[in-house]
Each structure stands twice: as C-alpha cells, then as structure tokens.
Amino acid sequence: MILGLYNYWVVVVLMMIGLYIVIAHGNLIKKIVGLTIFQTAVFIFYISMAKVDGATAPVLAEGISQYSNPLPHVLILTAIVVGIATVALGLALAVRINEAYGSIEEESIQNQDNQEC
C-alpha cells in the first residue's frame, strides 16, 4: 500500500516543501525556487498517474499490447513550458525589484513601501 504509492508520497512531500518555502521565506529568489518545486511536484503527479504497470512507452511495436497513457505526459510538456515562462518572469521581476529597491528581501521592500505611504 505505502510502497505501491511511492510516487504519490513523493509528490505530496515535494508539494508541501515547495508551498512551505513560498510562504515562509522572505527572499524573492527562494520564493521562486519554492514555486518551482511546488510545480514540479504536480508534474510528477501527472506523469505517475499515466504510468501503467508493466506497460511500455506508447510506440507501436510487435509483441507489445499494453501502453502507458501518453496524454498526461504531453499535457505536462505544456505545463513545463508554462512553468518556465513563470519562473523567467518571476526572476526578471526580482532583478528589476533589486534595481529599484536595492534589496530582494520581502521585509526590507515592505518597510521601504510603508515609509513612502
């Protein structure tokens, strides 16, 4: 039971680690790292879901009758692209924030904003 669902345990653990980093860390880069871990956990979830025990990759070949479901794998390719775009944009914003505020720590940025108000 527990070993059979090994992949899903990994997914849950990674997901929680990722979400925790996003919430708990004040450093903008670390937040993005957390976000990436969180998203990767979801990718693993989709990929594990499509794997059929004892089946091969979905390529037509003689003597093979069972294939894994290729659809979730393809979906995840799209999701990975979306993830890359998000990370790239997040990092670009972090660079611009560093130029504008001279810091990438949430607390320091928030303090500077509060003084302006």
Binding site: Q39, V42, L75, I97
Partner: protein, 492 residues
C-alpha cells in the same frame, strides 16, 4: 467563414500579438491593436447572436472530434462573457494611446500592445474553450501577460505588486492544475461536456472531493474572493491606468465565469450545493468580503486603492448571488458581471484621465477638480452612483435582482446586509464627491485643464452604457436569464 468564428475569436488576438511586435511606431501599434480587438468584438457579437438564435455552437479544433481533440463549446454563458471581455477591451483600448503617452516610456509602447493582445487572447480562450486543460493554458497566458502589464507601472511599487500577484496567481493556477489532474484520474477525460457526464458516477469518492476543493480554491485566488484578495489592491493601484481599467473589468470576471462553469456545468448543482457545503462557505465569505472591503475602501487615501477595495466588495456581491443557488441568484451574478465591468472600466479610465492631468490619484489632489475637470468628474460621479446602485444606473439592476433572489429564497437577512453594504459604497463615493466639489483646489497647483478627448470619448461611451443598460435592460437581462436557465436546465 461563419463556421470558423469560434476559432477566430482566439486566433485574431493571439496572432496579432507577434505581428504587432513589428510595428515600431506607437500610433501604428495602437491602431493595429484597436482593429484586432474590434474585430474580436464583432466576432463575439455574431457568436452571441448565433447562440441566442440557434443554440449551442460546437467547434472541433483542427477537426479532431471531442473526447480526443479540443472542443470549443459556446453556449449562452460563454457568449455573454465573451461579449463583455471583448467589448470592454476595445472601448478601454481607445484611451490607451493618450494614456500610456505619459505613463509608459516611448520605447515600450509596442511591447505594451503586444502584452495587451496576449492578455486578451488568454481571457477569450479561457471563456471559449470546452476543455479543462486548455483552460489552464489560456489562464496562464492571460495571467503572465497581466503580471508584465502591471509591472509596466511607473511607480516602483508596481514591480512589487506584480511579483506578489505572480506568486499568488501561480499558486492558484497550479491548484487548478492539480484539480484537473485528479478529475482526469477518475474519469479519463478532459472534455468539459464528457466530464459532466462521467463525474456523477464517481462523485462520492475522496479524489473527486479533493479535485473540487483544489479547483475552487485555485479559482477563488484568481477571483480575489475575500480573504484571498491580498494581491489585488496594490496590483490595481500601481498598474498603468489602462491596464487597471481592463483588468478590473475583465480578468476577475473571467475567473467568476470559471467558478460558475466548474460548479454548475462540470460538477453539477447537486454535487456542489448538497454534497459539499459550498453554499454556506460562499455566502459567509461573500458577505464578509462586502463589509470588510467596503470598510477598508472608506479609509483609503489613494482613489485607485479605494476603487480596488470596492472591486473586492463587488466580487462579494457576485459570490452572494452565486451562493443562493437559484436561477434568479445566478442571474443576479451574471448581470453583475456585465454591470460591474461597465462601472469599473468607466471609473478606472476616468481616474486615468485625472492621472494624465495631475499625475496623481491621491484623494487630497482631488480637491476642486469638480470645477477644473467637469466632464471627467461627472463621469466618476455617474460611475459612483452606479456602484451604489441608484435607480436608472446598471448598479440598480443587479442589486434589484440580487435582493429579489435573496427574498425569494427566504434569506431576508442577506437582503438587508446587501442593502447595508450599498450604504458603505455611498460613504466612499461621497468622500470623492466632497473633495472634488466642496473643497477649493489646493494652494500652489496651477490651472488644470479638462482631460483630452482621447479620454473623454471612451469614458463617456462607458458612462452612457452604464445609464443606457440601467434603463433598457432587455439585452443584459434576457441573455443573463437565458444563460442562468440553461445552466440549471442542462446540468443534472
């Protein structure tokens, strides 16, 4: 040609975006974007007419039939939301050329229009598609474009607001992705129509409960439902004026559409409202949102912040209507989608005109503006009256149906609270009126001219729509009613 219309609605803005990149001159890029957005609006109008006349349109992308290929399925609900998104985008865009002249550096104008078109394409795609995974992809296209658009704001706080929105938005989108994955695991399909038929068979499993919870929380992050609204006020306040006007009017509306689609069409009413205690949660959060956000709005010093909090409160009204769970309640929500889009785009665009002339949206700077910018301030007052829900404005129409729906259901305390919430709106709108009309201009400020026509025309088009649709409610009420009825009729 007419058969290809559903595809055109997405392809037009999506392909115009890279083409726009070649137009170096700001004016050319603007004209090009206006044409692309205007054509999209024409397509939406035609689609709405077709749907109202002959029922749901099904379009198979690339000729691949439904459970395998992506299907665009346009019923009364999407056609209605498509019209809202594309028409508001077009009207707001008319002011863009004048507005970004002062707010965005010259060399970024073309990029601004590219992002604008991408955001439009994403929003239209979310609404039009009949495939659950496709929703996620389009949602991210529109969101990524929106983060970048917000970051174009001249204040450095815009960057910080965009970053926070990016983090929250991505968590929301990933939650939706998890939910879609869980649904796929149970049913083996991503097609919404297929899902709605297969989900009831497995509705009593924990996986489906988890899927529903993930999707609702994810969508509510995008809706900015109280208490998940923290990203919204700063994002709206520091984004360029045009961006605020278009985002406030369209992006949260599209998220509300998703909420309705997932709850009513895919999971079905009996699952969403009886198996899961969604009704209780939403009515409480909706009412809390109305009061908490309206009260916060009263104490804001920046008028953009004020209207941003007011947006959170207005989303509360939509959620209350939704949670009543009757045809009239849903109809009130749909009407408010349309009406709130009209009010907020008019208000934020008028604020853009104020920003253009005095370079600030601080309430203290509004003193004496009533005489210096009479047309702009009159537009803000008209929009504000609509926000309160004064008769003869659109705001009245949606509040009327909302109170009616609550009373029909015997929820009179909710009806009373909705009316009390309107009084809070009266307070914050009055603060602007008081500053603009009953105070002298601050010493040291030179003469302020009325806003240029580039602003006044789109602002007054929207204000006129606010009043016109408040008196002649045939279009909005008929379509909203038909959409609400079809959602209750078709779903199990």
């Amino acid at each position: 040609m007419l058969i290809q219309l559903p595809a055109l609605a997405v392809i037009l803005p999506l392909l115009s975006a890279p083409l726009c990149l070649f137009l170096r001159r700001s004016l050319l890029a603007w004209l090009f974007t206006v044409i692309a957005s205007g054509l999209t609006m024409l397509v939406s109008i035609t689609l709405l007419q077709q749907v109202m006349a002959s029922g749901t349109i099904v379009y198979e992308m690339g000729g691949w039939s439904a459970p395998w290929g992506i299907e665009y399925r346009i019923d009364k609900l999407n056609a209605y939301v498509l019209l809202i998104v594309s028409s508001i985008s077009t009207v707001v865009l008319l002011a863009a050329h004048t507005s970004i002249e002062k707010e965005i550096p010259q060399d970024r104008h073309t990029l601004f229009y590219v992002l604008y078109l991408l955001s439009l394409a994403g929003l239209i795609g979310v609404v039009i598609t009949g495939d659950a995974f496709n929703v996620f992809v389009f949602l991210e296209i529109s969101s990524l474009a929106a983060y970048s658009l917000i970051a174009l704001g001249e204040d450095r706080r815009a960057l910080w607001a965009a970053y926070q929105y990016l983090i929250m938005g991505t968590i929301g989108a990933t939650f939706i992705l998890i939910g879609i994955g869980l649904m796929y695991q149970m049913t083996g399909t991503l097609n919404m129509d297929d899902l709605s038929r297969r989900l009831p068979e497995v509705a009593q499993t924990r996986t489906v409960f988890a899927a529903y919870a993930f999707i609702i929380v994810g969508v509510c992050l995008k809706v900015a439902l109280f208490p998940l609204h923290r990203w919204l006020p700063n994002a709206y306040a520091y984004a360029p004026s045009v961006v605020t006007a278009v985002l406030a009017a369209t992006s949260t509306k599209v998220a509300v559409y998703l909420l309705i689609r997932f709850t009513f069409s895919i999971f079905g009413i009996s699952f969403s409202f009886t198996t899961v205690p969604l009704q209780t949660i939403f009515v409480i959060l909706g009412l809390l949102g109305i009061f908490a956000a309206s009260t916060t709005a009263i104490f804001q010093k920046n008028v953009k912040h004020l209207f941003a909090y007011s947006s959170v409160a207005q989303i509360g009204y939509m959620i209350v209507g939704f949670s009543i769970g009757t045809t009239t309640g849903l109809m009130a929500t749909l009407l408010h989608l349309f009406n709130h889009a009209l009010m907020k785009s008019a208000l934020f665009l008028a604020l853009g005109a104020v920003m253009y002339r005095i370079g600030s949206a601080q309430l203290s700077q509004f003193q004496g503006l009533g005489r210096q910018m009479p047309f702009t301030m009159a537009a803000i007052v008209a929009g504000g009256l609509s926000l309160i829900g004064v008769p003869l404005t659109v705001g009245f129409v949606s509040k009327w149906y909302l109170v009616l729906a609550a009373l029909e259901n015997g929820w009179w305390p909710v009806a009373v609270l909705v009316l009390l919430g309107s009084l809070l709106a009266l307070v914050y709108v009055w603060r602007i009126v008081e500053a603009a009309y009953f105070n002298e201009p601050p010493a040291g400020r030179g003469a302020v001219e009325e806003a240029p026509l580039g602003f006044l025309i789109p602002v007054w088009v929207l204000v006129t729509a606010n009043i016109y649709f408040g008196m002649d409610t045939r279009l909005s009420v008929q379509v909203a009613q038909a959409a609400a009825q079809s959602l209750f009729g078709v779903s199990p």
